[in-house]
Amino acid sequence: MKLSPINQRRLTTFRSNRRAWWSLWIFMVIFLLSLGAEMIANDRPLLIRYQGELFFPAFVDYAETDLGGDFETSANYHDPWFREQIESSGWILWPPVRYSYHTHINNLPGPAPTPPSRDNWLGTDDQARDVFARVIYGFRISVLFALLLTFGSAIIGVLVGALQGYYGGRVDLLGQRFLEIWGSLPALFLLIILASIITPNFWWLLGIMLLFNWTSLVDVVRAEFLRGRNLDYVRAARALGVSNGQIMRRHILPNAMVATLTFMPFLLTGAIATLTSLDFLGFGLPPGSASLGELVAQGKNNLHAPWLALSAFGVLSAMLTLLVFIGEGVRDALDPRLINRGRK
């Protein structure tokens, strides 16, 4: 794909901002690694060779009997007797961390939470689960949630803002009043009420947050469309007979995209912070799921185990800082004044 000169210049400006460029790379690497969290931290081995056959316990559920055990239940690979049984006629390939986010570790050296050790790099939490594993999974779910929420709100927000701004008049008037009413609904209380009726899972949370988050972009996009619909080249397109949809998509949307893109990284950080605070309060993801907010809550409840609070703080601040740096880079790259300064 060939970039238009203006976008090339923006890319150059973004790349010349070394802090943002490096932040983007670091974030992308961490995010891609966390997408393969099952390969990094898992209580099931990645690969087993037993009696000349290959098994993939990380991806397939095997019964103990399949691997020479006694019971028809799912295999527990942490059982020392079972492990010896397999290794007696084959071998086991473990991931770097032998715990998943929900693994209860039975043979801890002391009462949980235990401090960081060679086995548990960031210690364990008060339910004897490995903090490092939970952080990896928690990072992944936070970023995925934030990405889905941001893109969902962007799509709805741009659409609504575009319609309001382009058609103006009554559409705009009713739309704006609706937004005012909608914006004043207490989203947190609705979530609390909902949490008492159902157990909110990932999709419930995403849906409800989406209901209240999409409004954030509407005003920006609406303003761009209000301005854009009277531009000469938009009027020229109307005189050519181009349809309204085409005009919005081809002529005005690119202008509105600048404002939207500038906002996006900051929406992303906002979404992560929202999910974390809901989890912290206990109205977020269902109990037991890996979440950074829950880790923060544990840190607060277990002040004698500072590794909990420190891990949560470290991961959250690193993630949010990287995103803010990227956001600043994007904002500057899309700023026409800075672009002109770089021009000969």
């Binding site: 238009s4 203006i6 000469d232 080249y233 005189a239 050519l240 181009v242 202008n255 000969k344």
Partner: protein
């Protein structure tokens, strides 16, 4: 230079940026200004006129802008370059006044006229309370604002363009400066107002005995109001002489080009048996002044008031009038881009009642070229995409056919078709206007609406665009509706003309007749005010 000069500019160079990004905007120019004299700085846009003026006022964005050591600006022998801000502030607004091009943006919209003028007086004098108020009133009387006492409490938006410019002048002259820098003082104003403002400036100049540095691109203003002229081009001073000398015997080739670049020629004859292609009857455009909640608006501003017009095939209909006279609104209404009432007959078919969908096939017949070629082309589309857009809407042709049509249209407007994959910002103003014309032309329309097609262009380019329009009319039998405030452009292209004022047609008839023997007083005023 002798020491009598009030202002002495020697070897002035202005650079922006450093090292690789450095750009020289003004290059080694020297001139001087005597007491009571008017020097006009003329040149096309981008020639460095305004930057020179800002350098004298030390208003450039320092330190991004900088001068090499040999540059000198002396005001009464005192060097201005590198003067401290405090010292400079004593001069600004006190001994050197400045007025800007756009009076709406140069005045603070949140403060009353009284407050803004009083501020200038307070900074450089000890006048307070009643005495200050009296002084402000005096200033307003001096610039001949009607009913000055009531204007004290007015906000800028309550004043007309000409009145705002008068307030600006009052502010600039409040402390009786020795030097007034006028940066395009009349460009944003209507012709009739232009003349009044320039007359006022001249009168005040005599009264106060001040020198004036007049920055303009309008040769008419230069001819009537300046003693000496300095012509600038691409940051350099190409010629400097007295006004009469320069207009009689221009030395430099560029100056000659500038002087000769008045729109010339006459409209082409068109067949007398031509058919009416567009007819409008009783066109009315109203805007609601105030919209009561859930009720129909009751007060309207009538922008176009019962206008009738007829356009013949191959004819150019010129529409003139001041800003706000409704001429652009009328064009938008005829194009059905602005809701209106009345009948619009396009080739005998009433298109006023058609909805947007039924209208779409008819749009092909009527195209429009806007004033500002920078705003009328989408910056994110290539020239190919821009010109092809209309074809994609109206035909089902293949890609190749569309591309061929685009190439043909670009050739017809005198552009290199190889450049069609570039973006508009890579073209000059005149070239962009050609692209806009190509976009209209590619659909083979019957009528092209030209909304001030040349006003945003430099003189020399204007002439080329006018020649192109005339040439296209001859080849394709196009009809034009030409909207302009520039009577020279109208004269060069129109067969018939309408004079509009406050939404109504004041006078209409064959262009030659209206321009030679105007019947109405308003038309006569308009003609008299347009400086030649």
């Amino acid at each position: 230079m002798t020491d009598h000069s009030l202002l002495n500019v020697e070897h002035l160079t202005v650079n922006f940026g450093r090292d690789a990004a450095m750009q020289t905007v003004v290059r080694n120019i020297s001139f001087s200004l005597q007491k009571g004299e008017t020097l006009a700085l003329v040149g096309e846009s981008g020639s460095g006129k305004s930057v020179t003026a800002h350098a004298i006022m030390q208003l450039l964005p320092y330190p991004n802008a900088w001068h090499p050591p040999e540059s000198q600006i002396r005001f009464r022998g005192q060097p201005l370059l590198g003067l401290s801000d405090d010292a400079m502030n004593k001069l600004r607004g006190n001994q050197i006044g400045m007025i800007f091009q756009e009076p709406m943006t140069a005045l603070n919209p949140l403060h009353t006229v009284e407050k803004q003028i009083a501020e200038v007086l307070k900074l450089h004098s000890d006048l307070r309370s009643e005495a200050l108020r009296k002084a402000v009133l005096e200033q307003l009387e001096r610039v001949k604002i009607p009913d000055p006492a009531s204007k004290l409490r007015a906000y800028p938006h309550e004043l007309s363009g000409g009145q705002r410019q008068r307030v600006m002048i009052a502010m600039a002259l409040a402390n009786k400066p020795d030097l007034l820098i006028a940066d395009e003082p009349t460009t944003a104003l209507d012709v009739t107002v232009q003349k009044q403002i320039m007359d006022l400036l001249k009168e005040l100049q005599c009264e106060l005995g001040m020198a004036m540095l007049l920055i303009t691109h309008d040769l008419g203003v230069v001819r009537h109001f300046s003693d000496r002229v300095a012509v600038m081009r691409q940051g350099e001073l190409v010629e400097q002489s007295t006004s009469t000398e320069l207009f009689r015997q221009p030395q430099h080739e560029y100056t000659r080009k500038l002087l000769n670049s008045e729109p010339q020629g006459a409209p082409l004859p068109y067949p007398s048996d031509a058919q009416v292609i567009l007819e409008a009857q009783q066109i009315n455009v109203q805007f609601a002044l105030h919209k009561p909640f859930l009720r129909r608006p009751s007060k309207f501003f009538t922008a176009v008031n019962k206008v009738d017009l007829q356009l013949y095939k191959g004819e150019t209909l010129g529409i003139v009038g001041e800003s706000g006279s409704g001429k652009s609104t009328l064009a938008m209404a005829l194009l059905r881009l602005q809701s209106s009432t009345g009948d619009i007959l396009l080739q005998g078919r009433n298109i006023e009642k058609l909805n947007q969908k039924a209208l779409r096939p008819q749009r092909r017949q009527m195209q429009v070229v806007f004033q500002d070629p920078f705003a009328s082309l989408s910056p994110r589309m290539t020239v190919q995409q821009i010109v092809a857009e209309g074809l994609e809407v109206h035909t089902n042709s293949s890609r190749e056919n569309i591309e061929t049509a685009v190439i043909k249209a670009l050739l017809e407007v005198g552009l290199d078709p190889d450049a069609r994959h570039r973006y508009p910002h890579e073209f000059s103003g005149g070239q962009r206007q050609r692209i806009a014309i190509a976009r209209a032309l590619v659909l083979n329309p019957e009528i092209i609406f030209l909304d001030e097609p040349t006003s945003a262009l430099d003189r020399a380019v204007q002439v080329q665009v006018i020649d192109l329009l005339r040439d296209l009319q001859a080849r394709f039998g196009l009809s034009y509706v030409l909207i302009s405030h520039d009577l020279k452009v109208i004269r060069a292209l129109s067969h018939h003309m309408l004079v509009m004022r406050a939404g109504k047609i004041v006078e209409s008839g064959p262009a030659e007749q209206v321009l030679q023997n105007p019947r109405e007083t308003y038309t006569r005023e308009l003609l008299a005010a347009s400086l030649g």
